[in-house]
Symmetry: D2
Subunit: 296 residues, 4 copies
């Protein structure tokens, strides 16, 4: 049994029921849904939305439940602790709709940062962006316009360790739950990837076929691709190869220049990233080895 190590929400104390989201995974075996649903029912819970999936390959079972319950949080957590132990379960309980504390890392490209900030403010993206961190200063005014603190953390080969320490310091100090690499053009160290495992989302252009090396849009143009895409994924030590959360594509044709492809790519990048961040913040994404289960 593993209780989540990340900071979790505490429901605002009110007299009515609280709307919870519970997500969990455990080795598959008969009786899990019955046990979870029974626990929730015995605590005055009314399930409003629920999805389950048993993966025959990994032998794991995944579940996400939204439930309105009247029981005090501590009572609910204690009951889940006991159940979790019985089923070797990893679980997480959060208040539905709570905004996840998020740190966004950028370099100089503004499109993803703009999009996330706008969606947080106006489209109900359930994140609370508490800091923008960048190795450049180009986007300081964008953060400023939305009233978000901006931290300039330059990175050179020599200062990378210090820079990552400073990032980790911010993560701890600000109770950051999610780090979004919104076109942050630096590779995180393996150590940092491990420390923040499952809590860092990256957005990466992607193409059919895939192109390695520098200037992928130029390669895609040269090859005459008819689709350009983007992949949002969790970051692991193996850059651009972490578990995929969302992918999307945009249609292009021969008349598009490399800079047109880049502009269209920005569009699909921000779209895919915003979806991935929303699903993560709503606890809809569960890890199944190097795959994701996404209960959209």
């Amino acid at each position: 049994m593993t209780a989540p190590s990340e900071p979790t929400a505490t429901a605002t104390p009110t007299h009515g029921p609280t709307h919870w989201v519970l997500s969990l995974s455990c080795p598959d075996r008969p009786g899990i849904v019955a046990a979870v649903a029974g626990l929730l029912a015995s605590h005055g819970g009314n399930i409003t939305e629920s999805q389950q999936f048993g993966d025959p390959l990994s032998g794991l079972f995944f579940m996400r439940v939204q439930v309105e319950a009247t029981a005090p949080e501590a009572t609910l957590r204690a009951a889940l602790d006991a159940l979790g132990a019985e089923f070797s379960m990893t679980w997480r309980l959060d208040v539905a709709g709570r905004r996840m504390r998020t740190l966004v890392m950028v370099s100089t490209a503004a499109h993803c940062l703009h999009d996330l900030l706008f969606r947080q403010q106006s489209e109900g993206l359930p994140v609370d962006i508490v800091a923008v961190v960048s190795n450049h200063t180009a986007l300081e005014d964008v953060a400023g316009f939305y009233g978000i603190p901006f931290h300039h953390v330059p990175v050179t080969r020599d200062t990378k360790t210090d820079a990552e320490a400073r990032l980790l310091g911010l993560v701890e100090e600000l109770d950051v739950e999610l780090v979004v690499l919104a076109r942050y053009m630096q590779i995180l160290s393996d150590d940092l990837c491990r420390t923040l495992s499952g809590r860092v989302i990256n957005i990466h252009h992607s193409f059919l076929p895939s192109f390695k090396g520098a200037r992928p849009y130029a390669q895609a143009h040269d090859r005459g691709v008819k689709l350009i895409g983007a992949t949002a994924h969790y970051v692991t030590g193996d850059l651009d190869e972490g578990p995929i959360i969302e992918q999307d594509v945009e249609r292009v044709d021969h008349s598009k220049k490399v800079e047109d492809l880049v502009a269209l790519g920005q569009d699909v990048e921000r779209r895919a990233l915003a979806r991935a961040v929303r699903w993560h913040a709503e606890h809809r994404v569960l890890l199944d080895g190097h795959r994701t289960i996404v209960f959209r």
Copy 2:
């Protein structure tokens, strides 16, 4: 409590567990999932896939469960009967993957019929097409190629009642569970719609904006639309207005002639219809008033 009136499957008797799909709806209240999951667990059931949804507007709760269970079918059904009575539940139990007995009605357009027959044979569309019924003879050879009995049932204003009686006769005689109107250009009577309520799927072109009256593709062309679409829906007395199961669109431009729009429309029609038929046959579509819940 309403047990389904349509013919249902009987599991092949084997020594191992049977893979069931259970779908249900009932007035929402606490404890439904716990009760259902508890019932399944107490009958040796292992849930492999499950989805729930509570609609705050209608106050109804919907659930679809795939479960491997060792209990005999009769025992399971008796337990579900009792539970269904307690929760005022409409439920349906079927063997997962069983091919639904289906009758396809056509006029002269071949694209949807071809597509369904091909997907049944080669893509695992879980239907058993037991008859093709048409008011024309143009598609007799298509049915014949796939070895499906073809019934020519002409319809005129005077013979409409007789023709519908003959259709109903076939539905009963052949234990038909699903009727697909695959570009069948006749309007079913209100009586027939009521008799077969929830068991007839139609495919209908659709456009933004929508066009009433004859020659919709010509109207769409004249209006210069940039998308053409198709809607698959259950048939009610109110033609083309029944609960929507699936919609899809295809992009067009000014260079397309009316006949090009028709050809592209056929493509999107057969795609949307095939998805709707698959989801219905897999018991993924539940009715929520005049909306559908689709557990894809």
Copy 3:
């Protein structure tokens, strides 16, 4: 022959060739392309991109050419004047890539305004937004962040005529070529529509089927649609029925609440509007009665 009444570009005088975009339409007859291409060739023109379309229904011919030419602008215009007279041609000559002077009208919804401003700044959307006009003050800071003058022009039943006069005053004073209604929730008068005919683009939500009246997203939710869409179109006196420039859709399902549909609708609205504005600003959209020819 009609020379365009809107302000047009003047090429920066340099010693190299200028990159022009020429768009035209006229009654179809043999020899148009030969005449146009001949004229351009005789003025040292090298065609880099060109598209034509003859509409058999309207009997009109449409053409868009990008051409690098060394001849002075006045010489080119004089030659086109003569050719235009011969072929009863409406034509427009502009410097390729010139930013079109644009006025954006909004009420309180920020998504389209944000998107246009961002794309102008960062994605090469070839417009120069010279003013934001609103009947509210909610979006003044957004305009301010991008350094765009903001004009608050309240509209009541009594002041509508004055407000439209003020808008027209701004259009003239600022040499505005394009007015974008970016979720501007006021209906323009027929007089204004006529005055600005072909120069006003609106974005409108749209659905399959279409819903009339207030709260269309609530109606779409109630009906259980599986797609929501948006249509960008020229404004005519007949609101929401002007010539369609672009349409797009987004997939939804039963689990989405009305506010989710609204948020997804905003996404597809800004995408469709940005494309329509780009194509218009690049002279890719030509009017063919109440249809558009879009040379993408």
Copy 4:
């Protein structure tokens, strides 16, 4: 100047004008469009549709024109020969809408063959499928249903040369202009690829990221991709790397099994292949090195 070596159409002699499609490419320089349009106009031609593109990277110019002309075919061809010599032009003249003589190669998967045969018969796909060739006999009845001659040409390591010779024999004997590899699971020899260069279209599954080796769908499933795709391309010696004509994708999620991915992949394969074949048969695809120009 290179006149096309493939068989070309001869217009049915009538008294009215013939509707031609002319496609061409040549080194870019001023005056090409004027010369071509002038030639057509001087032969009584009325251009109904036309597209051009100058590729700044390759320095080549591409053009596709549909034109109604009254001049006799021989006169037109002679004039084009002279023009082609002047501009070092590769050109092709064909009757618009003529069905291109096509040979389809298959192994055991039926979906693409079915789709092409159906679209030829019912959706106006402008091909005349004159033979189906297979290294298996599984699809003989499909060809038979549509009345297409079926040729069983087994391939083993020892007989590959003979088998390819037999294929080439059929291509010559039947005046085949286009060979479609519709899930033909054999690799053509480099010699054959060269001989039929630009006349063989293949359909290939494709993924983000791409997977090499056997069982790509299993790899994609294992990796948890959210999109599966297909690429239609010309065949060169470098298998699966020839010039791309069309690409498309389909959305998938974690609940799909490998066989579901395969079925969805078949859908996107047949869609992408049908579009590529249509565009090729309508002379909309021109080669620009290892890219394609597609005048859709």
